[in-house]
Symmetry: C2
Subunit: 422 residues, 2 copies
């Protein structure tokens, strides 16, 4: 009886690593003044069908009640943005703008099994709602950069590749011309973004063939793609990030267009510099989505990014300093602070009272639940990473307080031990 | 487009309360030396069918892939114990005994909508595996008591009602006699536990009728139920808890038998003393479950409890001191520490640099993303609960540091401000 393919279980070691990622995500988002929200794991199917594109619908898991088979109740969330859009549209009047919100949901996608992809994963979602200015794009990229820095990733280890859907849109509108002479549609534009998305990996012949209906060719598209000149919307974002001292973490790269249909302005993806892994995070502006989700009732500019835990953890594992930081955090989480050694079984009630006092004072305390040799108890203390051992034995009402790393020992009254370690 | 019935979404205020509960759970479990694990949200259906009883199978949600409708992939976990049993059975040799593990999963049950019941809820699970002695039962009850104390609940606000399946088993085997003269079976015993479970609320006539097949009557059953004498397995647990100073939080109460079939020894439930709510937590020994789940390969004694967030939060809300503690935690979580006021727009780059320095130093910092009147910026600082405002204006390279609560103000160099607040 195993877990289902693509699903994970978290034994204490892996659970600590997951918690390290979730807690680091939360810590940085809070430093930036973002507040946490969450949605339901199971959402109405229609929530995902409504969104333009619907790219993830085919990868969804549906949920039914055992007692009412065949009647689909909902879907496991494949991403967080539709939930966020729904929540914001319903109650946005109650919140100051810009709203700076984050979430760390688990999401579910029925994907083909491959490296860096699982069917259940965690995803940091950071969004700013109600701010049109590029200052918001810069704030969003800054929190993204600092999230990765918080994991110990350095400037030479990752890069945020910044691009602009509006710049590509201008390029398309200025240069494209439909062979049939008809006006360019939104669908044409989205089809063009798909071609751009593939142009780096595809052959020039293939790209040329795809571009024919728009009167364009690979050479012109690739020339624009390779230009490094910040577009009119990217220039202030770059200037803002430079003022923060974060300019070295970002570069303009028009090869990024993002797959989802709903992006409208600045878009970006983050890669490890070694480029051995998929994108660690991606996002951008989606100014039209709230209006779409609320049937036009709420029209607020918005932008955000998502960062999954699976690729991130692989990158951390591949970088010695980042890996050491993660392991130190996990060891500290696990460690017991004080181990109370019961050297004389008759003194167990007194030992229990001391354990309770230390725990009441907030210390992480453990002890042998049943009679055991003193040597065995010290072994357990070491195995649990305890800093101190307190020996309750024939010296009672005094106890021996031992610092395990240095083997230093003091004999003090049990009240003094409780005060000293509490 | 609402959430599905019985599912919750967490706006920032409710998300903070949920996090308070999850973090308090984690903090106390760690103080007791428990380590965190987790399983997959979607598990194979068979995992739940295997367990004796299968009480929750009818309440399960099944999961299928949109791309392969009709083919059930798994179930949303309705509880954590089967996952734990599976994980322990698979790798128990790698872990020191006793294993002290905890988890804070969200679980899913397709229940009728009623007070204190939702279809998705969080549940603290605390388990000890590999220890037969009553010292483990006492440790488990102690961590349960301290979990509730950590929420600010006092001795006169909740009680752990301790009982024993083995005591009831002895009673049954000594006193029951099947009318048909056949030997008593495990099924008889479980049927008897169900009668006991209902006896407090049912009429004597109804209980008597149900007891006829076992040659028992309500009077004898209720007399045993109301006796307060600790059974042979409860006495050492009570003594241990008394030595810890926790005796006042527990009482012997044989009215508790617990619904699930797999319990074998000490069992317990926790109630608010006002008894206005359902049980806040329940658990006990399930010494046979690991063997059952592993087809006899792993046979370890085990015990644990579950505590849901829904009833707990209702109880907290009803107790002023506990509620105030929760609200203080949530306010502290949300609060921004430093708000940087940009009084001269030309100095925005300098302000951004200061923001970055303070955030790098770990402070929670916010600022107005776009030009705004100084008064408006101070309003935002107050609304965000900021402790300090730093005004970047005409005094540059000096800045004004203002303590918002006291209105105290100092004029210092921006480097000194960064050092002072960083």
């Amino acid at each position: 009886m195993q877990t289902l393919p693509g699903f994970r279980e978290f034994y204490p070691d892996t659970c600590a690593r997951r918690n390290y990622i979730l807690e680091t995500w939360r810590g940085v988002a809070r430093r930036y003044g973002f507040v946490e929200y969450d949605g339901a794991v199971v959402e109405p199917l229609g929530l995902y069908e409504k969104k333009s594109g619907g790219e993830l619908v085919g990868q969804m898991f549906t949920v039914a009640a055992m007692a009412e088979p065949g009647e689909i109740k909902g879907a496991l969330r494949p991403e967080m943005t539709p939930t966020l859009a729904r929540m914001v549209a319903a109650r946005e009047r109650e919140f100051r703008k810009p709203m700076k919100w984050f979430s760390v949901p688990n999401c579910f996608r029925h994907e083909r099994q491959q490296r860096g992809r699982l069917r259940e994963f965690y995803q940091l979602n950071v969004d700013i709602i109600g701010e049109q200015s590029g200052a918001a794009d810069a704030e969003l990229v800054a929190v993204l950069v600092d999230t990765l820095r918080a994991f110990g990733l350095a400037e030479n280890e990752f890069v945020v590749r910044l691009s602009s859907r509006s710049a590509w849109q201008s390029f398309f509108r200025e240069n494209a011309k439909r062979a049939d002479g008809a006006a360019l549609t939104d669908e044409d534009e989205y089809a063009f973004f798909q071609i751009v998305d593939k142009a780096e990996r595809a052959s020039a012949e293939k790209t040329n063939a795809a571009l024919v209906p728009f009167g364009l060719d690979a050479e012109r598209v690739l020339a624009f793609m390779r230009s490094k000149v910040p577009s009119v919307d990217l220039a202030p974002v770059m200037a803002d990030l430079t003022a923060r001292g974060l300019g070295g973490f970002v570069e303009v790269d028009y090869a990024i267009v993002r797959g989802l249909a709903y992006y409208t302005g600045v878009v970006f993806e983050v890669f490890d510099r070694a480029k051995t892994e998929r994108a660690m995070a991606g996002g951008g502006r989606y100014d039209g989505l709230l209006a779409l989700m609320s049937d036009g009732k709420v029209n607020l500019p918005a932008l955000g990014f998502g960062m999954g835990d699976v690729v991130l953890e692989k990158v951390i594992e591949s970088l010695p300093a980042a890996k050491a930081r993660m392991e130190a955090w996990c060891a500290a989480q696990r460690a017991c602070e004080v181990f109370v050694v019961v050297a004389k079984e008759e003194l167990r009630p007194q030992a229990l009272s001391l354990v309770q006092q230390l725990r009441d004072a907030g210390r992480r305390v453990d002890f042998a639940l049943t009679e055991a040799k003193v040597g065995k108890q010290f072994q357990a203390a070491e195995a649990l990473g305890a800093r101190y051992a307190v020996l309750v034995g024939e010296e009672w009402p005094q106890v021996k307080v031992k610092t395990l790393a240095t083997r230093e020992e003091q004999l003090v009254s049990h009240e003094a031990a409780a005060a000293l370690l509490g």
